[in-house]
Symmetry: C2
Subunit: 218 residues, 2 copies
Amino acid sequence: MAVHLQRELDKLKKRILSLGALVEERVHMATRAIETRDIDLATQVIKSDHEIDEMEVEVEEECLKVLALHQPVAIDLRFIAAVIKINNELERIGDQAVNIAQRIINIGQRDPIDFYFDYSIMAEKAEAMLRKSLDSLVTLDLDIAFNVLTLDDEVDEIKDDAYDKIKAAISQRPERVGYLINLFLISRHLERLADHSTNIAEEVIYLIEGEIIRHGNY
Amino acid sequence: MAVHLQRELDKLKKRILSLGALVEERVHMATRAIETRDIDLATQVIKSDHEIDEMEVEVEEECLKVLALHQPVAIDLRFIAAVIKINNELERIGDQAVNIAQRIINIGQRDPIDFYFDYSIMAEKAEAMLRKSLDSLVTLDLDIAFNVLTLDDEVDEIKDDAYDKIKAAISQRPERVGYLINLFLISRHLERLADHSTNIAEEVIYLIEGEIIRHGNY
């Protein structure tokens, strides 16, 4: 029975990591679309989101099945509870990739403008956070998980910078407020994306430490 | 044993509803602060958020304990999985109330402006959605849960209207872009708040129907 449960838990871990890999791919497509303003790429992100949604539903069903059939306790129970929540976070990260793609399409349909905010570093950090949060789940490495939390502060700083610069640009080109608000919203979607990766890392820390640090008590 | 489990499930339901009542109260304080621009009220929302966070942690601990001790199956298992997720949604609704409160404080520190967007109907609908999503959990009434989904579309419409009007206001008063973006972000926080209530209603529907409609397959 215990061996059987272990096999099911390994399978669950593999499945959540496959979902993670798919979500990583979509986020990368979305951030490349920010750089290249590639509308086709953005459209692909939107059209393929249902794959993430379907996989999320499957993983959750699987979690409930393992809970019902094997009635795990202690650390195994905690692991499954973590997978249920990480699964949810991954699906929401997919939604943020879709949101970014929609902004790119919206921006792409408007006249270009002589203002540019470089989102490449913010995007790189947000992608690193997602990758590391998943790495921390594989390795159960506390340092990697904590590194995600540090990166989150850096992402927030860039978001503030984007806000200031785009706000100034709007003051100077009020007739282009539609374009610029869409550009501004990209920073909010990247920030939300980073927040979800932080939630994943916090789940992993919680799993490792068996302590609850979600609400800033660390 | 079954009687004992039933008692634990009833207790869980009571606890999640207490959390729901607390979150409702905070949302109501935040929406009143939008109307009245009451900075003290907004500050209260922010300062008391830790109570919601603490209660969320307790409910989750309780869920895991019931899972471990009673090893529920079928509908009981599904109920606990729903509580784990609804618990999470409620905590995030509390965060949105905090976000709204922060915007009010930010706006309150700036010079007033001769532009006004009436958020009262949007706030009323968002509050109704939260109340109904919790009602649907108590009564397991499918109609009430579906009504939340309809209201969500109405909230989205008002958000679009806010976007258009505030965008136009920014074009006309570009020097007040900081004030106006904060006003615009209130609509996004209300929309996110509504989204979380929708998630709760969908969990309830899922619980009732045992079908997954989360991803728009209804």
